[in-house]
């Protein structure tokens, strides 16, 4: 009887409390960061308190703890200070002997990952496609040169450790950690390597996303030096295609899972759209089969209610502005052109278009392109187009007070709206005459 009582007692000791986990997780993050920041980069054996040494050891497991308790802490806004710690470890690694270097290398790997984990950035590739991260903290006094080591380290590590390469690319890409212009060529070279078809998919996607973030710099190819320009034009263009299509000649039939990926393809189209603005890229985009890839996307995206039709239209209209004979475009049917143009206007009132000067400047080109293909439009299509144009005009007029130079574009869109409206009216009237 007493034994039974003891066993019952044993069962009753299993209690639960969920209140402490958020508290201790937040405290751990806060305290751990503070301990790391206090480290001056010196010899850990001289740490009189031992706490820094422990924190250094904890780097091995801290990310796992934080990942498991991710919902219990607020993202750190001290990414720059955490990167300073990484820089100290990197400097220590560069100065240390062979054995110590491997220890520092492991610590650096963990510290970089901790920097991302503290900011609640996941290594999940799906996380890449969200809006650029903006949690680097305010009042940052770092100069771009302070982060050149990241580019150096990426160049050193991408062949051996793709996870670390991913972390660095995420920092330099979506997290917008700036490095000096002198390192740009080295960075693009590393990006090209990371886009290779022998690299894991998450790294290729991260490289694509980073290229997407710096697309305007790459697109303004005339502004960069000749050596970099040659490399970008000859190597970067085919590498981009590798990120979305690692095996040349892959078709939808033999790769149904990865052939289309909505977020990735939107990122890809935005990048190609930016590059297609510069005529010097056109030959490379055609020759490296980017246009073929875009045409293969038409069937999937031409009728979709996303931004894909806008960028697809933008790429194709910029490649063949006057319907010049561009061989690959011959395969696009008139109906596909029209569907694509019509749906391109669907999200032309979005912030992604209105707030981006290049997209905004493209609107008159889109007007001309739509005019060319609207002859086959049905009454329903025209009604839809007119309503989209109304939305665009409203959005443009709202911004007119802020930017007067947009007036010319508004006039063009208004005229086009009138044309579409007249065409709709005619269509209705003609149907009205015939139908009775």
């Amino acid at each position: 009887m007493l034994l039974t009582h003891l066993l019952l007692l044993l069962c009753s000791t299993k209690r639960s409390c969920s209140a402490a986990l958020p508290q201790v997780t937040q405290s751990l993050l806060t305290r751990f960061q503070r301990v790391l920041w206090a480290w001056d980069g010196g010899d850990l054996e001289n740490d009189s308190t031992g706490v820094t040494h422990r924190a250094y050891n904890l780097l091995n497991v801290i990310c796992r703890i934080l990942e498991l308790g991710q919902s219990f802490y607020d993202p750190s806004s001290d990414t720059m200070r955490n990167l300073d710690v990484c820089r100290k470890i990197y400097s220590r690694m560069k100065l240390s002997e062979q054995d110590d270097a491997s220890v520092s290398l492991a610590a650096l790997r963990n510290a970089l990952h901790f920097t991302l984990t503290a900011a609640q950035v996941s290594r999940d590739p799906d996380y890449l496609w969200f809006e650029p991260y903006s949690g680097l903290g305010t009042g940052d006094s770092h100069s771009p040169e302070d982060f050149d080591w990241l580019v150096d380290y990426l160049d050193h590590v991408y062949a051996d450790d793709q996870e670390v390469a991913f972390d660095i690319i995420f920092l330099l890409g979506p997290m917008k950690v700036r490095f000096s212009a002198a390192k740009q060529q080295q960075f693009i070279k590393s990006l090209i390597a990371c886009m290779g078809n022998d690299m894991p998919v998450y790294l290729r996607y991260a490289a694509l996303r980073a290229a997407h973030i710096v697309r305007e710099a790459i697109a303004s190819i005339d502004a960069i030096d000749a050596k970099l320009r040659d490399m970008v034009l000859t190597k970067f263009s085919p590498a981009i295609l590798t990120t979305v299509c690692p095996r040349p000649g892959t078709t939808l039939a033999n790769d149904p899972h990865d052939f289309f990926h909505d977020e990735r393809d939107l990122c890809y189209l935005e990048l190609i759209f930016a590059l297609a603005r510069d005529p010097s890229w056109h030959a490379h985009l055609i020759g490296d089969h980017h246009i073929d890839r875009c045409i293969s996307m038409i069937a999937r995206f031409s009728k979709s209610y996303t931004l894909h039709p806008f960028y697809l239209s933008g790429i194709l209209l910029q490649i063949a502005p006057e319907q010049l004979s561009v061989a690959p475009l011959d395969g696009v049917t008139e109906q596909q052109w029209w569907d694509m143009m019509r749906r391109a206007w669907r999200y032309a009132d979005s912030q992604a278009v209105i707030d981006n000067i290049h997209c905004f400047e493209f609107l008159p080109v889109l007007v001309e392109g739509t005019k060319r293909h609207m002859q086959i439009a049905s009454e329903y299509d025209l009604e839809e187009l007119v309503s989209y144009l109304d939305d665009v005009l409203r959005a443009l007029e709202r911004r007119l007070s802020e930017q007067r130079e947009r007036e010319g574009v508004i006039v063009v869109v208004k005229e086009f709206r009138t044309i579409a409206s007249d065409m709709l009216e005619k269509s209705v009237n003609s149907e009205g005459v015939i139908s009775p």
Binding site: A20, Q23, L28, R31, T52, L58, I65
Partner: protein, 485 residues
């Protein structure tokens, strides 16, 4: 209690009969008046009217008891009252015990009844029930002493030679009692133990402790004063250097304020678990029950206000009882030895945390603490990791190479270790072996091969917090190791 009731009744009867016999000293003797009147009649018959007087003789009107008779009666009545009080106490005690016996379990499940019994038992301890019951025989002893004094004094005025016999026997008895008390003070194993000897022993021990502490404090104060006097001039440079180091380290170890965890309150009956297990370990003679109770030690919450330091030597004694002549654990007693070693280690951790920031030795001296734990670790093979950590807790700063034994690879074993590791960092008793081992334990428990529970995540987080210097309330450390999920 029944015996005391009978004894006090008998004694009251005896003392009453003697008091009645001594009662005559308090009232005038009627025969004195009769004799006076007869004397007066004889005088009148002899016509000696002058001697007979003109008023009848009444010696009672002028009689008063002697002061000694009153004092003797006072003592005698005090003796009678005390014996009656002892009888009354015996009746009450019998009632109290009857109530305890009938109500100690109450109703409900086995668990509820067990906890109820523990609650009642704790009440007995809290209200000094044992001391109160023990005081009733003292009343009877006091009553006997007073009775002997009264009897001796009474007889002294009656017949001193008889009184000498009574006084001699009384003094002999009293001296014998004092002798037994003194012997009990010298030797706790002496069988002549009485409540008086227990009380005196406690008083002597407390006085000794106080004197020793006072001497230690005095010598420490003297040492500090002398040191500061002698080294004042030479330490100026050293102090400034030390200060700069302290300033650097302040950034790291600066107290952010103790992290107070928002843990829900304990269940009302949860605070009975630890006393129940303690009681079982202290009183159980059934080996199976003892082993089960010892295994419960790591699982229950040991409140800080529950002093368990006295259990450590007991558990060590139990452990040693499992060791054979060859110095090895007897194979048939391995289970008991293992349970004892684990329980001993856990309770040692609790005691160390309880004493922190003071450093208290629980087996007499630091050396003895080390020896005991080291001895347990060397002999016990099943729980070497937990015990090894306890050794490390005691030998703070001394690395122990083989800290992780074969038992430290299963998840339950790792969870047990996870509960104990924060104690090292909270109390500052940490060395490199423990640091590396703590990271290893967290790494193993959070490995991606299985999905760790919230309890494991929380405990790993607490350990990591303790490692980087987050300050915890001691009570929270005790509670969180069993509760977080």
């Amino acid at each position: 209690m029944r015996l005391m009731f009978v004894q006090s009744g008998l004694f009251s009867t005896v003392s009453s009969s003697f008091i009645v016999s001594m009662e005559s000293n308090l009232s005038p003797d009627p025969s004195d008046t009769t004799n006076a009147l007869l004397t007066q009649l004889v005088q009148i018959g002899l016509h000696n009217l002058t001697a007979a007087g003109f008023t009848p003789e009444d010696p009672a009107s002028t009689w008063s008891p002697t002061a000694s008779a009153v004092r003797i009666q006072m003592v005698a009545y005090a003796s009678l009252s005390l014996s009656l009080l002892a009888a009354f106490g015996a009746v009450l005690g019998k009632q109290w015990i009857g109530y305890y016996k009938s109500k100690r379990y109450g109703r409900g499940s086995q668990e509820e009844r067990g906890k109820r019994r523990q609650e009642m038992f704790d009440g007995l301890v809290t209200w000094y029930f044992d001391d109160v019951i023990q005081s009733f025989p003292v009343l009877l002893q006091l009553s006997l002493l007073l009775f002997e004094i009264a009897l001796g004094a009474h007889m002294w005025y009656q017949q001193p030679s008889i009184a000498w016999v009574i006084i001699a026997i009384t003094v002999s008895g009293f001296l014998f009692y004092l002798l037994t008390v003194m012997i009990c003070l010298i030797s706790p194993a002496c069988p002549f133990q009485t409540p008086m000897s227990t009380v005196l022993r406690g008083t002597v021990h407390a006085t000794g402790e106080f004197a020793r502490c006072s001497l230690k404090l005095l010598s420490a104060a003297l040492h500090t004063a002398l040191r500061s006097l002698l080294l004042r001039s030479s330490t100026n440079f050293v102090d400034s250097e030390a200060q700069s180091l302290d300033q650097d380290s302040d950034v790291v170890v600066a107290d952010d304020g103790t992290l107070s965890l928002d843990l829900p309150d304990m269940l009302p009956t949860s605070n009975l678990e630890a006393p129940s297990v303690k009681w079982l370990l202290e009183t159980s003679t059934d080996p199976e029950v003892f082993i089960t109770a010892a295994r419960l030690v790591p699982l229950v919450e040991w409140p800080l206000d529950l002093d368990v330091s006295d259990m450590l030597p007991q558990l060590y004694d139990h452990f040693i009882s499992c060791v054979g002549f060859d110095g090895q654990i007897v194979p048939s007693l391995e289970e008991k030895a293992s349970a004892c070693a684990t329980a001993l280690s856990y309770l040692y951790y609790g005691c160390v945390l309880h004493a922190h920031p003071d450093y208290i030795n629980f087996f007499g001296s630091k050396k003895q603490d080390e020896n005991v734990l080291y001895d347990v670790w060397r002999k016990d093979t099943a729980n070497d990791t937990v015990v090894a950590m306890a050794v490390n807790l005691c030998l703070s700063g001394i690395p122990l190479d083989d800290i992780s034994g074969p038992a430290a690879n299963s998840v339950p074993a790792l969870e047990q270790l996870l509960h104990l590791l924060p104690y090292h960092f909270v109390t500052g008793r940490v060395n490199q072996s423990i640091e590396v081992f703590a990271v290893e334990v967290i790494s193993k428990l959070l490995s991606s091969s299985f999905s760790p529970s919230n309890q494991i995540i929380a405990n790993c987080t607490v350990l990591a917090c303790a490692m980087v210097g987050v300050q915890f309330d001691k009570q929270d450390i005790i509670r969180i190791d069993k509760r977080c999920s």
